[in-house]
């Protein structure tokens, strides 16, 4: 595995942790390229013929397929391995972080930062973030066990890189590279002076934007204090100026009409039906007239064949990505209209890794994310 780009906050592996993480990475690559594809013959040769025989018709949707595939031994074995590989990601990096947590906390306190960090210990963490450990990260984004905890951020930085099998790029910022490339080509002349990134976690994406646009004022918000402390120190270590604050994207304390661009990177699918509308409403409120809302998230189900949908939805049921199941079916344009955007200014778009500057192990396969794009 190509190592992540070094920075001051990145927890250092010992010899065996290094190999363990490489193993988990290689194992997940093996699963996705050599084992996962077997689900297709399992379905077409075994599960579907049985279904046709019993029901005298094809399965109507992914739920019907799930019921029968769950009983297939090949699918079960792959699923058990996939689920375990996800747990192994976190266990392979947690030891590393636990061992040097004190040191990381000390390093996270920056004397004279370029950006800033504003925490709000009284912020309520909504249920959709606490109901389950999202993608199985122990303690999720918000757990704090010691004063000034940065562990959730430190674990997330190393873990998501393995999760993506290197696809996030060595700066852990692929999604920022994608939205940045997309935005600059879509709006080549648009002047921006103030930008908000919602659900920034450790600021992977927004920090990339800030590095590319040193004269723009960047704000980044998240619910979790630990990921924000880490993200702040990480951005400073990378020489980027970002203002982090602990806020709920559904209702922030920023002034109305104060931003040129409000964006997010895979935040939406980890919220809830009502939160999603609130986030669009809030984005609308925060934008200056002519300002742009750009939310990148995971693919929706419209027009996707039942079998593909079923396989795509594996993470919803087995990796604690619960709300993604709802999001896949929602009409986001309708939510944008409700938020106040004019129908003609809503431009559902998509962007993928072809917008990235960097070559990753997956540069040759296009993965494409839908973008909810509106102009106020």
């Amino acid at each position: 595995m190509t190592p992540l780009q070094e920075h001051k906050m990145l927890a250092k592996n010992n010899h065996d942790e290094d190999s363990r993480q490489s193993f988990v990475n290689d194992f997940r690559v093996h699963l996705s390229s050599n084992v996962f594809p077997g689900n297709f013959p399992a379905y077409y040769k075994r599960v579907l013929p049985q279904f046709l025989k019993n029901e005298k018709r094809e399965p109507k949707n992914s739920n019907e397929i799930r019921k029968v595939m769950n009983k297939d031994p090949f699918y079960s074995f792959w699923s058990a391995m996939q689920r375990n590989s996800q747990e192994m990601i976190w266990s392979s990096v947690i030891d590393t972080v636990e061992r040097q947590l004190d040191d990381l906390i000390t390093k996270s306190k920056i004397e004279k930062p370029n950006g800033s960090l504003t925490l709000n210990p009284n912020l309520d963490i909504p249920k959709y973030n606490t109901a389950a450990d999202i993608h199985l990260q122990p303690g999720a984004y918000h757990q704090q066990q010691v004063d000034n905890d940065v562990s959730a951020g430190a674990v997330y930085d190393k873990g998501t890189y393995i999760y993506s099998m290197g696809g996030l790029g060595t700066g852990n910022n692929a999604m920022g590279q994608i939205t940045h490339g997309f935005f600059k080509s879509e709006f080549p002349k648009k002047e921006i002076s103030k930008v908000l990134d919602m659900g920034c976690t450790i600021g992977g994406s927004v920090t990339y934007w800030a590095q590319k646009n040193p004269n723009v004022e960047f704000h980044a918000i998240d619910l979790g204090a630990s990921v924000l402390r880490y993200g702040h120190a990480r951005a400073e270590a990378l020489g980027a100026e970002v203002h982090f604050s602990q806020q709920n994207a559904e209702k922030t304390n920023f002034d109305s009409e104060s931003f040129d661009l409000v964006m997010s990177h895979i935040l939406l699918h980890e919220t809830s039906t009502s939160a999603l509308q609130n986030i669009f409403d809030e984005s609308f409120r925060l934008l200056k007239p002519g300002g742009i809302m750009m939310h990148l998230d995971l693919p929706q189900a419209h027009g996707v064949a039942p079998l593909e949908s079923f396989l795509f939805e594996w993470e919803i049921y087995n990796n604690n990505e619960h709300f993604y199941g709802q999001l896949r079916k929602m009409d986001l344009v309708e939510l944008c209209i409700k938020a106040g955007f004019n129908k003609d200014n809503i431009k559902p778009s998509s962007a993928g890794n072809f917008w990235m500057e960097e070559q990753t192990p997956y540069s040759s396969d296009d993965f494409v994310f839908p973008i909810t794009l509106c102009i106020k």
Binding site: M1, H15, S22, F77
Partner: protein, 117 residues
Amino acid sequence: MEEKIEIKPVNRGKRPFFFDDPAIDQLIAIIMAMSGELSVLYDRVDTIERLLETNGGLKRKDIEKFRPSQEIEDERNVRRNEYLARLFKIITDEKTNLTPHDKMRDYSNLMKELDKT
């Protein structure tokens, strides 16, 4: 001594079991953990061999300090892939040879076929 902080799950959500007997899921988890540790051990042996070869002797802290260069990591990557292929051969073979259960010929049918001219 300060108490060591443990990063623990707060709420994992309900664990999915993919087999009727949860012991099978548990066994798969154990096998995978073991596979991982064997791979770690192999890398460690590889590190020791390389250090011995270059330095003639060995200090334990040299092992900790050792990090594979890209070239060595590529070699290890090839080795891990071959290792994984051997380990999970029974699963990947099933993928390519997968036959509907009702089309699988059992032994007695096969014997009958052998006698056909």
